[in-house]
C-alpha cells in the first residue's frame, strides 16, 4: 500500500497529464459520437419519412384509380336502362322482366374489369324492395334495414356522389361479421333528388389493405381514417373501428400546412405522422412511423461506438507512451537530485530524454561538477591547514620540558655524576635533533623506538626508575615508516596519569606487523579508566609539563589525515587493571 502510494506520488505528473487528456478525449469522443449519431438518425428518419410520403402518394394514386373504376361501374348502374327497369318495375315475371334481368347482369359483368371484383360484392337495392347482388353473395340483413341504415341515409342526402363509408358489419355473406367499406351512390333520374334505388360496392378490409399492406412494416403502420377520425382500415386489425381524434387533427394539420411530417406519441413511443387526403374517398391515409423501430432496424450504433472506443483507446495508448517518454527523464532527474541532496556530488545525472530534460540534466551536471570541485578544494585546504598546524605543534618543544631536563642535568653534574650527565645530554640532544632538526615528516619504527628510549631515559633521570618501560620491535618492522612522535604522547600520558600514587609500574611498547598494518601497542598496568573516561582522555589537550604541544588527541587526527579513516587510535582500559592503546597504520617502507 505504502509502496503503491509512493509509486503514485512519484508518477503524479504522468497521472495528472494522462487523466486530463483522457478526460478531454473521452469528452470530445462522446460529444462527437452523440452528435453524429443524432444527426444520422435524423437523416435516416427523414429519409424514411420522405419515402413514406412518396409511398403514401403512390397509394393515394392507386386508390384514386380504384375510385375511377368504381365510379365507372356506378355510372353503368346509373345509366343503363336494365338496372333502372329492374329496380323500378313491378313486373317480375314476364318475358320482358326476364330480358331486363338478363341485360342487367350482362351489362354489369361487362363493366367490371376482369378479376377485379374478387371478394367484392355489388349490391343493388330498389326502393321497391328488389335486390341484386353480384357473385353468389347473399344479403345478411333485410332490405328495409339496409334502406334505413346510416350508410343509405347518408347516400340519400348526397345521392349524386359516390360516398365511402365504414360499416362494422359488411352485410353480405362474404363479409359477414367483418367490417368493410361501402361505396354507395343513389340511383335516380338524371341528377334528380328522388332515388329509385341505391348501389353499393362492398369493399372488404383485405381489398383495402392490399393497397398499402405491402408498404408497411414493423416500423411504419399505415391506416385510413375517415373524416370523423375513425380508423377504418389498418394493418393492425384490432384498432379498426376505433376513433382517434388526436391522430385526425395531426393528419389534418400535416395535410393543410403541407408539412413533411407531424409528430405524436403513441403508447409511449415517438411517432412521425405522414398523411395525405385521398380525393373522392374523403379519407385520410395516415402513416405512423415508429422512430425507435426504424432505428432498431438500422442499429449501426454499436459499430460506431466500438470504433470510437477503439480510437479513444488508441489515442490514449499513444498519449500514454508519449507522455511517459516525456515525464520519465523528469522523474529520474528528480530521483537523481534526491541523491545529490544527501551529499553525493560525484554522481552525474544521465543525459537523455527530450531536449528540455537533456538541457536541464547538462546544466545540473555542470553545477554538480562545480560544487564537487569547490568542495574538494575546501577539503584539501582544510587538510593542509591541519597538517600545518600539527607540524607547528610538533616543532614546538615545551619549554618547561627543556627547563626541567636542564635542571636535572645541572643536578647530576653538581653531584659529579658526569657519566650519567653525558649520557643524558646525548639523549637530550638526540631527542631535540630528532624532533626539531630532522625535516622529514616520517621516521622508521626503529628511530621512533630510539626517540622513545631517549625520552624514557630523561624521564627516569627526573623521576627515578620506579616505572619500567620495555620495548619490543619486530624484526620485519625495523624499517617501517611512521609519523614522527606517534607513540611518544601515549607513553608520556602513561607516565603521568596511569600510575598516580603507585610505587612502581611498567609500560610495554610493542611494534609488530598484522597483515598489511603496522600495529603499535602501548600497554601499562596502571590504574586504568572507566569507559566514559576513555573518550575524555583522547580529547585532552597538552599539559604544561608535556614534551611537545601534541596531545594524544592530535595523534588520531593526524593518522586519519595521513592514511584515511580505517586507521587511527583505539584505547581499551579497565579500572585497576591498566590501559592498552593501539595505533594502527599501514605498512610503508623507505623507498
Amino acid at each position: 500500500m505504502e509502496k503503491f502510494l509512493d509509486k503514485l506520488r512519484s508518477n503524479s505528473l504522468l497521472i495528472k497529464i494522462l487523466s486530463v487528456m483522457l478526460l478531454s478525449v473521452v469528452c470530445v469522443a462522446t460529444l462527437t459520437l452523440s452528435i453524429s449519431i443524432r444527426a444520422s438518425e435524423d437523416v435516416y428518419v427523414d429519409t424514411f419519412t420522405q419515402s413514406n410520403s412518396q409511398i403514401i402518394g403512390q397509394i393515394r394514386e392507386n386508390m384514386s384509380r380504384f375510385n375511377d373504376e368504381i365510379s365507372e361501374i356506378m355510372s353503368v348502374v346509373k345509366n343503363n336502362w336494365a338496372f333502372r327497369s329492374y329496380l323500378t318495375s313491378d313486373d317480375r315475371s314476364s318475358a320482358t322482366a326476364s330480358y331486363t334481368q338478363y341485360s342487367m347482369v350482362w351489362n354489369l359483368e361487362h363493366a367490371l374489369p376482369p378479376d377485379y371484383f374478387e371478394k367484392m360484392s355489388i349490391v343493388l337495392v330498389g326502393v321497391n324492395g328488389s335486390t341484386y347482388l353480384s357473385s353468389d353473395a347473399g344479403l345478411t340483413i333485410p332490405v328495409e334495414e339496409l334502406l334505413n341504415s346510416r350508410v343509405t341515409e347518408e347516400t340519400r342526402r348526397q345521392p349524386n356522389r359516390i360516398l365511402y363509408q365504414f360499416v362494422d358489419d359488411g352485410f353480405t355473406t362474404l363479409t359477414q361479421g367483418d367490417s368493410a367499406i361501402v361505396a354507395s351512390t343513389g340511383l335516380n333520374y338524371a341528377g334528380g333528388q328522388s332515388n329509385y334505388g341505391y348501389a353499393y360496392v362492398i369493399i372488404p378490409q383485405e381489398v383495402l389493405r392490399n393497397f398499402y399492406s405491402s408498404f408497411s412494416s414493423d416500423a411504419n403502420s399505415l391506416m385510413l381514417l375517415d373524416s370523423d377520425g375513425r380508423i377504418i382500415s389498418s394493418t393492425q386489425k384490432e384498432i379498426i373501428g376505433f376513433k382517434d381524434l388526436d391522430l385526425l387533427s395531426i393528419a389534418q394539420q400535416v395535410e393543410q400546412e403541407d408539412l413533411p411530417y407531424g409528430e405524436t406519441v403513441q403508447s409511449d413511443r415517438q411517432m412521425a405522422v405522414v398523411a395525405q387526403k385521398i380525393p373522392h374517398w374523403e379519407f385520410h391515409l395516415v402513416g405512423l412511423i415508429d422512430r425507435e423501430s426504424i432505428l432498431r432496424a438500422v442499429d449501426r450504433h454499436k459499430s460506431i461506438e466500438i470504433m470510437t472506443l477503439l480510437v479513444v483507446l488508441c489515442v490514449f495508448a499513444i498519449m500514454f507512451f508519449v507522455v511517459r517518454k516525456t515525464t520519465r527523464p523528469i522523474n529520474s532527474l528528480v530521483n537523481e537530485m534526491k541523491k545529490v541532496t544527501q551529499g553525493d556530488f560525484s554522481r552525474h545525472i544521465p543525459v537523455k530524454g527530450n531536449y528540455e530534460v537533456r538541457e536541464l540534466a547538462t546544466a545540473f551536471n555542470y553545477m554538480l561538477d562545480g560544487l564537487d570541485s569547490y568542495m574538494e578544494q575546501i577539503m584539501t585546504m582544510e587538510d593542509e591547514k591541519r597538517e600545518a598546524e600539527i607540524r607547528a605543534l610538533q616543532m614546538q618543544i615545551n619549554p618547561h620540558f627543556i627547563y626541567n631536563t636542564l635542571a636535572s642535568l645541572k643536578w647530576m653534574i653538581w653531584q659529579g655524576n658526569s657519566e650519567s650527565a653525558v649520557q643524558a645530554i646525548d639523549s637530550f640532544s638526540r631527542l631535540l635533533r630528532g624532533t626539531i632538526s630532522k625535516r622529514e615528516e616520517r621516521i622508521t619504527a626503529a628511530e621512533e623506538i630510539d626517540n622513545l628510549k631517549d625520552y624514557v631515559f630523561l624521564q627516569h633521570l627526573r623521576f627515578g626508575e620506579q616505572i619500567q618501560v620495555r620495548f619490543s620491535l619486530a624484526e620485519d618492522c625495523q624499517d617501517c615508516l611512521m609519523p614522527k612522535l606517534t607513540l611518544q604522547p601515549f607513553v608520556e600520558n602513561a607516565f603521568f596519569h596511569a600510575f598516580s600514587g603507585a610505587e612502581e609500574g611498567s609500560i610495554f611498547v610493542c611494534i609488530r606487523r598484522r597483515g598489511n598494518d603496522l600495529v603499535s601497542e602501548i600497554i601499562d598496568n596502571g590504574s586504568g579508566m572507566k569507559k566514559e573516561e576513555v573518550g575524555r582522555t583522547l580529547s585532552k589537550g597538552g599539559k604544561a609539563d608535556h614534551f611537545t604541544g601534541i596531545g594524544i588527541n592530535n595523534v588520531d587526527d593526524r593518522i586519519k589525515l595521513l592514511y584515511g579513516a580505517p586507521y587511527g587510535v583505539t584505547i581499551s582500559s579497565a579500572p585497576g587493571k591498566g590501559t592498552a592503546v593501539t595505533v594502527t597504520i599501514p605498512i610503508q617502507r623507505m623507498d
Binding site: 317480375r92 347482369v105 371478394k119 347482388l133 353473395a137 412494416s217 432496424a297
Partner: protein, 393 residues
Amino acid sequence: MRSLRVLALLLSICLLWGLTACSNQTEEQPHTQATVETSDNVLTIWAWDDTFNVKAANLAKAYYANINPEIQVNVVSMAQTDIITKLNTAFSSSNYEGLPNIVLIEDYRIQNFLKSYPGELRDLSSIVDPDRFMEYKLRVMTEEGKIYGVPFDSGAAALFYRRDYLREAGYTEQDMQNLTWNEYIEIGKDVKEATGKYMLTLDPSDLGQIRIMMQSAGAWYMKEDGETVDIAENEVLKAALSTYERMVNAGIALQVSGWDPFVKAFQEGEVASVPTGCWAMSNIVKAEEQSGKWAVAPIPRLDDIPQSINASSIGGGSWYVIDKVPGADLAVDFLGKTFASNEQLIDDLVKEISLVSTMKSAKDLKHCGEPNAFLVASVFTRTLLHGRSKRLL
C-alpha cells in the same frame, strides 16, 4: 519513435476503416417487407355456400382436429365465380400464391380444369376407393384411370314444394308425384290464381332449369364425346327451351338474378316450389317458420321426349387438391381421413346440412332413414338417393 509511427499508421487505418464501414451502412436501407409464407401446418379450404359446403368443411375440420390437432385448417367462404376465376388465373400463369390447398369444384367445371391444366390437380386415386362412390360421380373426375377428386354432394334434382300453397290450389302430395313439365305449368297457373304466389324462380342469366330438363333425358349441349357441340339438331334442348318459354309466358315464374334473390324468393315464401338440386335443402330449412310446410317430389320430366324420366341432376361438387401449393400431402391426408372415408362424418353431414352424399354406403347410415321434420311425409334423402341420376356430360 518508430513504434510511434507504426501506431499512427495503425490508427489512421482504423479510422479509415471505421469511416467506410459507417458510410457503407448508411447506403443499405433495410426495407423489410412482410412476405406471406405458407406455413407447413396450415391448410386452406375454399368453398362457397355458408349453409352447405362451407359448413361441411368446418365439420370435417373438427373431425380432423381430433386426428391431427397440430394442423390449423382455414375454411374460406368465397363466391364460386371468384374461385373459378382465381383458379383459372393461377393455373394459366403458374402463380400459386394465395391459392388454397383444397378447393370445391362443381362437377360441371371439373372436366375443363382436368383437360386444360393437366397436372395442376393432385391424383387422389390412393385415397378414393371407386367402389365406395357412385359411378356417375366418379366418371367426371377420372382422367386416364386416375381419380382426381373426392366426391362430395349429389347433384340429384328434386322438386321441393310448399304443401300449404298447393293445397290451397287444390293439389295433394299425390298429385305432385312424377309430373311432366306441362302438368307442372298447369299446376303453377292454378297456384298463381289461388295464392298469388309464383310457382318457381327463373334466373335469365343462369339456365339451370334447362340443364335439369336436358339431363332428365340424358342430353347436354354437347354430344356423348364431350367435344362435339350439339345444339342445332338437339331435340331435347329444343323441347327444354320451349318448356322454358311456356313457363315464362305463363307468368308463373319469378324472374331473379343471382343467388341472393333466388334464395330469398323461397325463404320469404314468394314461390310455391323449387325444382333444383338437392343441395338447396340446406337453404330451404333456414326459414324455420316454414317447417312442416315443405315436401319433396321427383323432378318433372319433359313431355314430348320419351327418354326423359323423373330424375335429373344439377350441380354437385367434389373436393380437389391443388398439387403445386405447399402442403398438398397434408391436404390429401385431410381428405383421405374425412370426406373420402369417414362414414361418421357423412352421417353427421346428412343430419346437419341435409347432405345427399354420393358415398354408396350413405343409404344405410343412421340419419338417412330418419323422417325429416321439415319435409312432412317424405323421407328426404331416401327419396333422392333412389332417384336415378343419369349421365351428366
